[in-house]
């Protein structure tokens, strides 16, 4: 049971064995942790042995701070120009006020990288899809810009590129062009190299440490340990989309 190779070969059997498999998962963490700590080899495909997620502590997220948004804009050369209706918003800060108690707090909102993404369900071309490791992406090569996914997303996470991107603003990590829908990629180009998303790095760099990035399937990862220890919420959990982004203190 503790042979990790055997587990990958027969996921169905593993699920069937239930309790026994859980025991194996607790034996395995040391092994899994090593895999996550080092970057995936370039020639290996991503696998469903990982699920990348975020944990956002809204009690640490400072109102008025937009370091994560700035970092995202810089990472992807997003140029806010004409206001919130047409500007790209891969990540945005939302100020929330509880009308009953008057308590206010702020949180970053981005693609929630759902396990059952409605954007992918409605996409007529298959451009919206979920990678095996849980990252939801738009394949711009086949996106026709119909924007069904923007309608379907309950988190308003996606935006549309309305104008041509000038040559000097083009980005090698996330090529973007007029007529396609786009959203947070969870910095997939960084994750594949074993690095953290730009927003998380910026939040930590600013000393707020409100965001934790990690593998939800690895019981030894910081994010999994935090989720196990403290209460957290998925936004609109009632929709049963199982987002990969968790929030604390909301």
């Amino acid at each position: 049971m503790s042979d990790p190779k055997k587990e990958t070969m027969d996921q169905g059997r593993r699920r069937f064995l239930g309790a026994g498999a859980a025991a194996a998962a607790t034996i395995a963490p040391g092994v899994t942790l090593m895999q996550v700590a080092s970057a995936k080899p370039d020639d290996q495909p991503v696998s469903d042995k990982n699920r990348w997620g975020l944990l956002i502590d809204t009690t640490k997220c400072a109102s008025g701070c937009d370091a994560c948004v700035q970092a995202c804009n810089e990472e992807f050369n997003l140029q806010p120009q004409h206001g919130p209706r047409t500007d790209p918003h891969w990540i945005r800060k939302v100020e929330v006020r509880d009308t009953a108690t008057g308590r206010t707090f702020s949180l970053p909102m981005m693609c929630q990288h759902c396990e059952n993404p409605p954007c992918a369900d409605v996409c007529p071309t298959g451009a919206s899809f979920r990678r095996d490791d849980g990252i939801v992406l738009v394949d711009r090569h086949i996106c026709i810009g119909c924007r069904y996914c923007m309608m379907a997303c309950p988190y308003k996470a996606r935006s549309f590129v309305h104008e041509e991107i000038p040559e000097e603003d083009k980005n090698v990590n996330a090529p973007r062009g007029k007529g396609c829908v786009e959203a947070c990629t969870l910095c997939v180009h960084r994750v594949d190299k074993g690095r953290q998303p730009a927003c998380v790095e910026a939040c930590n760099g600013d000393g707020h440490k409100a965001m934790i990035f990690g593998d939800l399937k690895d019981p030894g990862s910081e994010i999994s340990r935090e989720l196990k220890k403290y209460p957290s919420t998925q936004i609109r959990a009632d929709l049963r989309l199982n987002p990969g982004v968790f929030y604390k203190g909301i």
Binding site: K40, D42, D43, Q44, P45, V46, E74, E75, F129, R131, D132, D133, L137, D139, R140, H141, E164, I165, E167, K170, N171, V172, P175, R176, G177, K178, C180, V188, D192, K193, A198
Partner: protein, 150 residues
């Protein structure tokens, strides 16, 4: 004898004519790559099939996260860079761009650069792309940058 002379004259004229025709034909001038001695595949294979390689790699990278550099579009751009008089890489809008050499000759539109950058990425000091967070990495990066400028 006269017939033979006439024939010789005819052949000479024909040869000269064809020679001038050859000289006048617009042959695409393909710029030499900068980065490596050899392309990832032999030239004749690349001429016919380069897009199949790029497209296959595109799906592998997009869908499965395979980021090998052999057929990577980024690497094509990095290696086949063409510089202008000032030493700056020319973009696809310039006739001298590597892709334009054949594509404008064959009148085949390249759509790639509606989204993709047609010049190599300039190293940004702000976004820490490579492991230059350490001092050694930073010095190494600075050296490569200054080397490239020279």
């Amino acid at each position: 004898m006269k017939y033979a002379q006439f024939l010789l004259a005819c052949i000479t004229v024909a040869l000269l004519g064809s020679a001038t025709a050859f000289a006048a034909a617009p042959v695409p001038h393909i710029p030499e790559p900068e980065g490596a001695e050899k392309c990832v595949e032999p030239e004749d294979v690349m001429r016919r099939q380069h897009f199949e390689f790029i497209k296959h790699q595109r799906d592998e990278t997009m869908r499965r996260g395979i980021r090998t550099s052999k057929y990577s579009f980024k690497e094509c751009i990095n290696c086949h860079v063409v510089k202008d008089e000032a030493g700056r890489a020319v973009s696809i809008e310039d006739d001298r761009h590597f892709c334009n050499a054949c594509h404008s000759y064959a009148a085949v539109t390249v759509d790639c650069f509606q989204c993709h950058k047609s010049t190599p990425a300039e190293p940004k000091m702000g976004s820490l792309e490579q492991p230059e967070r350490s001092l050694a990495g930073l010095i190494e990066r600075l050296e490569t940058v200054s080397g490239a400028r020279r």
